[in-house]
Subunit: 397 residues, 3 copies
């Protein structure tokens, strides 16, 4: 017996593993799952003109019950060192979310290269799945960096084994982690956001580090630092919106903003105290990017900054989990991918409760107190404030 084990050298192990791999059925290789989110944004609405396009296109003027997300994912290990992930949204029209491969360099799964469309590692809440996020929509200060959070990219990630164990602990205990996007990440992406072809010959560059600290009493703190830089080409403008460039002769010249290139750089920090049972989450970022200027009807590179702070709890009662939360967010800057790199000032409070009666289901109610200025070439003077109660039901499959 002992000899046999001895003889089970690496070669025969590899053969055995290969055999297992080759005899796998398709449903052992590929896993299909997903989730559905239905919403109602019409309760106690004080201002139907307040709309928040990026968060939920069915917010603003009661539009009945609507689907926010119907997600189906195909994922699996195609090879001991190759993982693939494809996710689409079927809520109205089909829209591709993720399609990437992870290529691992080692057997401990410490170092890997991710190639394809995936989330850009910028912002904790951006990376956290909407399936797990407590608040209904992502915060503006970080989400303004990346429409749909994604881009076509090649990013290298590295996670030491002891960090991965903390991430696994967070996941196992339903603590609303972002998933493993590396303790260190470094890569390039097209820069025009998801499902949009590149518009210049340059790539954006992104770097990120996360340090998850577990105390002896199992309380976990995560510290995050990240930055990206590149040039963004504005492609969605109103008639007549211009921008100023320095032309070949060294003079200022006013040209059409559509197709013009703008600096697009940010640096952000975050800290998360995971809720056992009390938690805090805060992120803040500063940067420069294209933003509409109503006084001149032009798009200019301007400073931007913003952040949020959230206190949340996790209360388990029998099979049920409850996540009460309160969040304040502010943002002053542009949204490069909206009309005319729309100019924003955001000053919002959100207070609510997520209830998980079982793994398969969540219900969230959230009261919003919003004050938002959002201006573009078509609405150069536009500030709306209002309150409403928003409801979401989620099914996980």
């Amino acid at each position: 017996q002992y000899l046999k084990d001895e003889s089970f050298n690496n070669k025969s192990y590899e053969k055995a593993e290969k055999n297992i791999v080759e005899n796998r059925k398709w449903y052992d290789i590929i896993k299909i799952n997903g989730y559905i989110q239905a919403r109602y944004n019409g309760l106690f609405e004080t201002n139907p003109d307040l709309a928040v396009e990026q968060a939920d296109k069915n917010w603003g003027k009661d539009k009945g019950i609507s689907f926010r997300r119907i997600r189906v994912k195909l994922s699996g290990w195609l090879h001991p060192k190759v993982y693939m992930y494809v996710q689409g949204d079927f809520a109205s029209e089909f829209s591709l979310k993720d399609a990437y491969g992870d290529f691992y360099a080692d057997n401990e799964k410490k170092l890997w290269l991710r190639v394809g469309q995936s989330k850009v590692p910028y912002g904790f809440e951006n990376m956290q799945s909407s399936q797990h996020r407590i608040v209904l929509d992502r915060n503006d200060p970080f989400n303004s960096a990346l429409k749909n959070e994604r881009d076509m990219m090649a990013v290298a990630y590295y996670t030491p084994v002891k960090f991965r164990k903390v991430y696994d602990y967070l996941k196992r205990n339903n603590l609303k982690h972002s998933g493993n996007y590396g303790a260190f990440g470094l890569g390039v992406f097209n820069g025009q956001t998801a499902n949009t072809p590149d518009e210049n010959d340059e790539m954006h560059i992104v770097a990120r580090t996360s340090y998850p600290l577990m105390l002896p009493n199992k309380q976990v703190f995560e510290f995050i630092l990240q930055a990206y830089s590149g040039n963004y080409v504005v492609t969605n403008t109103s008639e007549g919106v211009k921008t100023t460039i320095i032309n070949n002769e060294g003079h200022e010249e006013l040209i059409d903003a559509n197709g013009a290139e703008f600096e697009d750089s940010r640096i952000g920090a975050g800290v998360i105290w995971y809720p056992q049972p009390f938690g805090l989450q805060a992120e803040y970022n500063i940067g420069r990017g294209p933003e509409y200027d109503p006084s001149t009807n032009t798009i200019k590179v301007q400073d931007l900054h913003g952040g949020y702070i959230m206190a949340m709890g996790k209360i388990d009662y029998r099979e049920h989990s409850f996540f009460p939360f309160i969040r304040y967010q502010f943002y002053d800057g542009g949204k490069k991918f909206e009309l005319d790199a729309r100019s924003y000032t955001v000053d919002d409070w959100e207070i609510g409760l997520e209830w998980q009666p079982m793994d398969a289901m969540e219900v969230t109610a959230m009261y919003v107190i919003a004050d938002r200025r959002y201006e573009d070439g078509e609405l150069p003077e536009n500030e709306e404030s209002g309150n409403l109660l928003r409801l979401q039901m989620q099914l996980n499959f």
Copy 2:
């Protein structure tokens, strides 16, 4: 042995069940299936100008073989009391059909709440799946109530166990049942039909009851009564089409019909004698709804009514099943979701045969004798009649 069974109390049963549930593989939770329908509408066509938009957009002027439906469904029990169902159509572009959750109140699955996009419980043939329907397309008198039969909704259903047993008998014996939409159903829906955002702050309300009667000789009769009511906003109009409202000063005023709200209410009854081997199926409804008026080029709330009667058989020979049928339908009213709430008079005969050589496959041939008036702002005087032979092949997977 007896003691052990005794000791198997409710608590440990729940634990065991939970264990089974938690160890389930994704493919034990989710089931993927569907069907494909290909058609040919070009044989013996006497009038290429006769087109029936809602039934089949490839009817009228020979357009070769075409797909009518390519359906893929994901469904499963996410929890002993939570069922989910998602269905999409991939025949040309992607189109969402169903996406709902069923939340059961009891273990006998008598009472449940359905939330999401699903079929509105109005009309037996509307609820019957196209996978099981004998006739190629649904009848106009009931289908004119609901484009794609569906809406975003919350409906409570109740089915006594003894009724469910009859429904199961009908299903098991391939008798073309509609599926279990409750012996009693009561709920609300957005009212603008599937994949369309709501346009007013009101919900439509719907109620339905079905009584399946099984005689000692196993012959089954089902009696159905249903009604819905709400206000529908017309959003698809030709240039210049108006409607008359009573304005704030109490006077009549002619305004643009686009965006105007109209009464939309119906009540209908149905009876089905399931084919063992001979059957009959009849439905009739009356109501009021928006309808184009060619004489004034306006849309008005008008009376509508219509129904159909079908005689059908079920003949089993070895593995094969044959369903011969003859149907007469008439309808006089509008189709609120078509251009200008198009005005219709329908007077059609259909005679044909469905052949099921195996579970996986069906072939249907159907001869149509149609006489249809359909008028809108662009074609204010339009009546077409004609005959043709229509063929369908269906694969079930």
Copy 3:
């Protein structure tokens, strides 16, 4: 024991098989798999104006990394004699590729009828899956016959058992076969290419024969002959492009080319020497079809011809396979489905290497030396030549 086997007559065998079939789980019936192709067309590009629309819409002017294909397939035996296959592309918007059923006449699976949208059996490389093709894009001389290679069709195929064994050998040994499209094939198709409704009452007709010859030393040669014929209706034209017809009075008349019908017929031959380790592949076809004529700004039926020859190798090293290749292609004729049946002269060299480090993954690098004239009503004088390096990464699941 012996008696029992004796008693296992045909009747009970059928029953047993039926039982197995009926107790199959959905995942034993349906198999889901697919592949992803990501590309980068921006290296060492000498002429950004050189674009090759049919091959890759992200070729020409650096557009960053892009997806060429994200394919998901559902396939399976629904019955011992019925096979179904559905394939969609999810690379940006959803697009239906295949949806067909195969109905077998015998148990040896020699003769079958394929009905639905599938590849038209014209051109070896057209039928070969993009998952298996070495060169990044299909050759113009054959692919110009069929956009997306597919159409709605009904085709009968016949493959003797001994031929099928050769096809199986080619597949098992990863020799880049086209798959079994019959030793003989005969059928009809709509004629307007995939996902496009038919425009006339006629079907195209297609016939094909393939003879796979295996020598005693296992070298395999395949000889292919095929032809199709029909009338194609041009539906994609620039303003003002005309065509000449003979009108009812027998005179020539200049009419709008849009909607006009043109002869569309081809005959082609091919020979493949499968790479063990050295191989050759060549195809050539001639025919007549609609083609834009810049001198008169009309579309005319003109002669077309073209072909390609490729030398390739297959080198296995441990788990890895390498496929070096060099291909020359030329084409002189129209592309009926492009704008104004665009007129082409193609004169391209491609040299590259496909590397398969494992079953799940492929990387291809290919240097292209292209010289292409492509002219239509909007660009009546247009010739572009240039070189570039193209990269592709593929994941198979």
